[in-house]
Subunit: 393 residues, 2 copies
Amino acid sequence: MTGATTSGELRPHNLVRLLRAAHDGAGRATRSELTRDLGLARGTAAVLVADLAEARLAEERPAPQRARGRPTAIVGPHPEGPLALAVDLREDAWTTATAEIGGGLTVREERPHPGNPPEAVLGDLATAIDRWLTELGPRVVSVGVALPGPIRDGRVVDIPHLSWHDVPAAEILRAGATPVALGNDATLAGLAEARRGALRGVGVGLHFHVDFDLGGTLLVDGSPLHGARGTTGEFGHMPLGGSDLPCDCGAVGCWSLQVGANALLRARGVPVEPARGRADALRILAGAAEGDPRCAAALEEVARAFGTGTAALVNALDPQRVTLSGLGVRLHEQATGAFTAAYENGLMAFRREEPPQVVPAALGGDATLVGASELAFDAFLTPEGLTAWQAAR
Amino acid sequence: MTGATTSGELRPHNLVRLLRAAHDGAGRATRSELTRDLGLARGTAAVLVADLAEARLAEERPAPQRARGRPTAIVGPHPEGPLALAVDLREDAWTTATAEIGGGLTVREERPHPGNPPEAVLGDLATAIDRWLTELGPRVVSVGVALPGPIRDGRVVDIPHLSWHDVPAAEILRAGATPVALGNDATLAGLAEARRGALRGVGVGLHFHVDFDLGGTLLVDGSPLHGARGTTGEFGHMPLGGSDLPCDCGAVGCWSLQVGANALLRARGVPVEPARGRADALRILAGAAEGDPRCAAALEEVARAFGTGTAALVNALDPQRVTLSGLGVRLHEQATGAFTAAYENGLMAFRREEPPQVVPAALGGDATLVGASELAFDAFLTPEGLTAWQAAR
DNA sequence: CCTAATTTGCTCTTGCCGAGAACATAATCG
DNA sequence: CGATTATGTTCTCGGCAAGAGCAAATTAGG
């Protein structure tokens, strides 16, 4: 959003600002609030809202009266307004959902998949997407897909334990004229937190998603840092623990080897079996909760490594707050003492005065879908996106 | 720069865009180039240039003719135009300089200082700044100061080997109505590279400055990532090497302990003496260049640690290019083999296909001053800054 | 129940801005 | 030396948001 530079760009630009603000307000922002927040004249706001309503981009609904004075209205989604199609592809299943302006999510379909070969999995998903596009019609303006691995130039670079390597996902998931945007699941979970969760309003936030691997994203002013080729956030692949183990990623001593499902198994002394790592890891966490000392020791070891690495990244990146999702929440909750001790010990002295909070993500299991829908709407909530929508009717 | 939202903001906004583009063009951009690059109509450009000239913000000078057609003019600094006062405070001396639009630098004064107490050092510097402000008059619109330590909310947090702790630098350096901006030296060196050096035009770049400590900055679209409280870039204080040494910063195993002047001494087995570490480190580098095997071994050890950590941060942050300044240049140049081997070994496999280049900074010793002047001009090259300038005459 | 106060929406005028067209100008090329 | 080409200059036009004045719809208070 570079901003308007000609008088002709002002109107589209302000329409985007208004619709974006209504979207970010989660369908609760009133016209008078929006007018104030965006610094508009009341007359201008009237024109803009009328434009949005006429274009079926938004609709005003009566708002609960709060104070004295003439009542204002909520600027919310239009019943025939734009939809984002959000897809969350996990290792063993995928979910599709739609989101309207304001973020309201409707889960549409959930299906398991065999994991391999990638072309078949993505091909089936592409078919499902096409079906939904047909069924929902031109209201769907954009598709956002979350994938469980790093993505570079529209290709899934690597999902080691699914044996996906350099899969041309964008090509397979192409959906006619509807734009499809791909994102890493951890990145999108962080994006969701930044827009509608615990990182809302936070200038610089750090999000970690722990599963088998440890991924994350740095959120700057509500958007993930993208990097040169879109693969920022591989924090798990820094040698933050001083280990000498080789990592699947090709490097050595990666933090991921000490924090995650497999790390719990290793710390517990259990063999790492490809398929059931997650269930075994959850069993260890349950064991620790029930007082099994060996499980507790494994948990503490992993929590310490998690805390130390978190401190390292806080030292380097100076976030205001850190959020956790996936196994990270359990690690932090069940071993807060070990985590916090290692975290504070790893901070530079001057950061210990007011260490950034480490908190669980506010959005639960929907975070990835929410992030995918935000990604999709980000592509639409632009002057070009709105202009195309208006031109199409 | 959020962009104009009302018709009245368009003019100031476009004046800023034009002056900023002329500034970034290093005093070589012609009016026709600027018109094209900014997407302006020729008539609009004429008005804007006339405005800038009348406000003594810029001036047109004849340009060397390149092709057929009516000649155009270079939009360069005005002889009575705005100046930025740039200050580089190092551990043992400080330098002041002025920069005009376009970045042309004039060094004004260079003085040694005793290093302590901080209030006296900064007080003397404040006096010098006031003297220059008086001498140069109202042309100086902004002051930028580079300081050799982390800065948070206008205070120097910590310079361990000068024993500076929590020094209220902004308060001491206050300069009447002229705004004073403070920045970390490594951050500003990186900023200079992003604007006028080897990171120019690079979307995401990583800069490392190695001295006693290892600092740096992540540059996103030409600006340093700021963090929640302005202390991003302490990459040296991540435990990237697996060491157990305690660090002055309060954490353990910091990368800085393995990369820097003192690290060279330690690797060579020489006692670390507070005052002359830099000279001793340079002697080791010279020794290595002359073939002394123990110096060479120390150099290689440090270069390997440097390469490994660089890979870790490339994995995590996905920069397009990495630049080095300070001792980092020597470490990389004199032990390219050791550095590169460790660098590539530490990269995730998929990043090895096209590893981000690691190159020395293009600006030499002036980088910090250039960065300080850019910081100062960033505060001026805004609609508010230009409006205030125009109102003042 | 009724009036004053308050807040917001609506309408119209005004001032400003950049686009774009038509023309003028100054260089190169053959 | 005229044709060509690129750029600067001037003027008109359409569009936009600000802002003022008025209308509307609610609450507070008696």
